[in-house]
């Protein structure tokens, strides 16, 4: 018995030890799990504890609602316009040289544009508009020398079989890449000159000097078509979604934009084609007298001079709209009203007449808003002839009852760049117009004006108004 009792005691002692160990492990697991749960479900847990406490204490528990995560609306950076152009210059390219008895190449030139993010766009021209200083003038780029898609435009022959079309454009990530390509182009032309003038043996010399590849193809090209054709292809009104008149003829977008801007006779449409992506941008140049009437959309006060505008529709390779851009330039610092609201559009107040303001509003179009944009593009106003394109679309700074304008208010980016010391009004306007033809962002035109301020519409603030905020990334 004693042996049995002694054995039982030893067995009891062993079980107790194992049980104690298990209790410790389970307790540790519970503590760890509780900490993890508290960390993961802290708001919910707190709310549940709050409700439990309220139930026990007999209170209502109404204050125990889970605190929702703070909703962050769009901030100013969400409305910051795309990078603006910082510097532009023109270079005359000395392709016209005599090699032995042959003239090699012709006059040519490049328009080189540097943007705030360091990227560079280079456009080939015939160099005819480039003065001795290399200054950029409205003559530097002549849209009249562009082809129309059917007929080729002006050919720029750099010699050695290197030919580009007027307006062909390359895009580079940095100025160094452009300089590298320019050096390679020079070397390639030398190589072609050697081969051309020494057919049998020149290739060996060229090879021995290091064989040069031909310059890469341009990514972007420009064409110019008449307005009617441009409307047809750019706005796609001949597709099944287009509208037809009583005779069954397709109706076109009439650029008579209310009372504000109208397409003048002979207006052309500039088509910018991105060969790499298949994107095409159709830019419609619009002009209107500043002396608009009361219903007008631009300025209810006494607007001076002529207002020029441009409207660009960009479509991807499948023909879907991907971007809308509204552009305008107006001379004079006029404090007036835009739309139905007061807006300081220029330098403000009775400012110097040498101020000019360039306004650009850009709307990115994707699947979420394409239906709205397509509907707007095919919309007609009350007269049944004109697309409703109020000029206030240029500055969508406050909410609107119109769904499209409201969408611009919610999504579009708008930059307003003011220029002082416009030395030549005509030249300045022509330069801006050239910018539209290129599809450029527009800023300082050294030849005619200095950009002194750059602002953009920020996120909606008090009263739902989107204030103008200095854009230091463009003009410091």
């Amino acid at each position: 018995m004693s042996m049995v009792a002694r054995g039982t005691r030893r067995g009891d002692a062993g079980v107790s030890t194992i049980e104690a160990l298990g209790i410790v492990v389970v307790a540790a697991l519970l503590v760890v799990g509780a900490i993890a749960a508290a960390a993961m479900y802290s708001p919910q847990l707190q709310a549940a504890l709050c409700r439990l406490t309220a139930a026990v204490s007999g209170s209502s528990g109404a204050a125990c609602a889970e605190s929702a995560p703070p909703v962050t609306g769009p901030d100013d950076d969400d409305f910051r316009p795309p990078v603006c152009m910082l510097h532009e210059e023109s270079e005359k390219y000395s392709a016209e040289v005599k090699v032995w008895f042959l003239t090699f190449g012709q006059d040519s030139g490049f328009i080189v544009q540097e943007f705030a993010d360091g990227s560079v766009r280079v456009t080939v021209t015939d160099g005819a508009g480039i003065g001795a200083s290399g200054a950029l003038t409205s003559k530097t780029f002549d849209a009249g020398k562009l082809g129309d898609g059917q007929k080729a435009g002006l050919d720029i022959d750099l010699g050695g079989g290197v030919k580009f079309s007027y307006g062909d454009t390359w895009e580079f990530d940095s100025p160094e890449q452009w300089q590298e390509m320019k050096g390679a182009l020079d070397d390639y032309l030398v190589q072609q000159a050697i081969i051309k003038n020494n057919p049998e043996g020149g290739v060996f010399a060229a090879k021995a000097m290091g064989w040069k590849e031909p310059p890469k193809d341009p990514q972007v090209g420009f064409a110019r078509v008449e307005l009617e054709v441009g409307l047809e292809v750019g706005l796609g009104l001949k597709d099944p979604t287009g509208t037809f008149d009583e005779k069954g003829d397709p109706e076109y977008f009439d650029p008579n934009i209310g009372l504000t801007l109208e397409g003048s006779a002979g207006t052309a449409v500039i088509i910018e084609s991105n060969y790499a992506t298949g994107e095409r941008s159709y830019t419609y140049e619009l002009t209107g007298q500043g002396s608009v009437e009361a219903s007008a959309i631009v300025v209810s006060g006494a607007a001076q001079g002529m207002t020029q505008g441009a409207f660009t529709v960009t479509r991807d390779k499948d023909g879907k709209v991907t971007e809308l851009v509204f552009n305008s330039v107006r001379e004079g610092g006029i404090s007036g009203t835009v739309g139905n609201d007061s807006f300081d559009v220029g330098g403000g107040g009775t400012k110097e007449s040498s101020n000019s303001t360039v306004t650009t509003t850009r709307l990115t179009v994707d699947a979420s808003n394409r239906a709205l944009v397509d509907r707007w593009l095919t919309e007609r106003n009350d007269y049944g002839v004109a697309l409703s394109l109020p000029f206030s679309a240029m500055v969508p700074d406050r909410p609107s009852d119109d769904p499209f304008l409201q969408h611009l208010y919610e999504k579009a980016t708008t930059s307003v760049i003011t220029y002082h010391n416009v030395r030549d009004k005509w030249e300045f306007e022509a330069s801006v117009k050239k910018g539209w033809e290129f599809g450029f962002s527009i800023t300082g035109e050294e030849a005619t004006a200095d950009a002194v301020s750059s602002e953009f519409l920020g996120a909606p603030g008090q009263g739902g108004v989107r204030p103008l905020i200095p854009d230091t990334t463009c003009v410091a």
């Binding site: 000395s94 040289v97 005599k98 090699v99 032995w100 090699f104 190449g105 010699g159 050695g160 020079d186 032309l189 030398v190 000159a193 050697i194 081969i195 003038n197 020494n198 057919p199 049998e200 043996g201 020149g202 290739v203 060996f204 010399a205 060229a206 090879k207 021995a208 000097m209 290091g210 064989w211």
Partner: protein, 154 residues
């Protein structure tokens, strides 16, 4: 005269060594003068191309033929007369497809004429070098023949 009557003992390995030497001469001649042309042009562009831009075309095969012949002489073999143009002329011919490939066919039909001229130049350079070597007599001792195996005699 006696050399012509002697059986040639230029083996395949000898030819390969000569062609290798010829290739080195070809590359040095072509690319060396090419660098010279490039340095002359500098940043002057197409207008600065010198009138002697044909030099790489000619210098490569000439140096090829000479170097290949020198290697043949150094090998102390007993070549037949046709070995001299052979060791020089084959290299430009073999290099022609490479040139076509590298230059993306830019030379077109003229490349055939260019290569033919190079082959002739290299062959002539090789033959001329061989003639000079032969005219110079046996300046170098003949290739040493291995000793006869020892024999036992009782």
């Amino acid at each position: 005269m006696t050399g012509l009557r002697r059986p040639a003992d230029v083996g395949v390995l000898d030819l390969v060594l000569c062609w290798t030497g010829g290739l080195v001469g070809y590359l040095v001649g072509e690319y060396g003068t090419g660098a010279l042309v490039a340095a002359t042009i500098g940043d002057g562009g197409a207008a600065a191309v010198p009138s002697w831009v044909w030099l790489p075309w000619v210098a490569g095969p000439l140096l090829c033929g000479v170097v290949a012949a020198v290697v043949l002489v150094l090998l102390r073999a007993r070549p037949a007369w046709w070995h001299w143009p052979l060791v020089g002329g084959l290299v430009p011919l073999a290099a022609a497809p490479v040139t076509w490939f590298v230059t993306l066919g830019a030379a077109g039909g003229e490349l055939a004429v260019g290569v033919l001229v190079q082959v002739l130049l290299a062959a002539c350079a090789g033959a001329a070098s061989g003639a000079l070597a032969r005219a110079g007599g046996r300046l170098l001792p003949a290739r040493r023949q291995p000793d006869a195996p020892p024999t036992y005699s009782s």
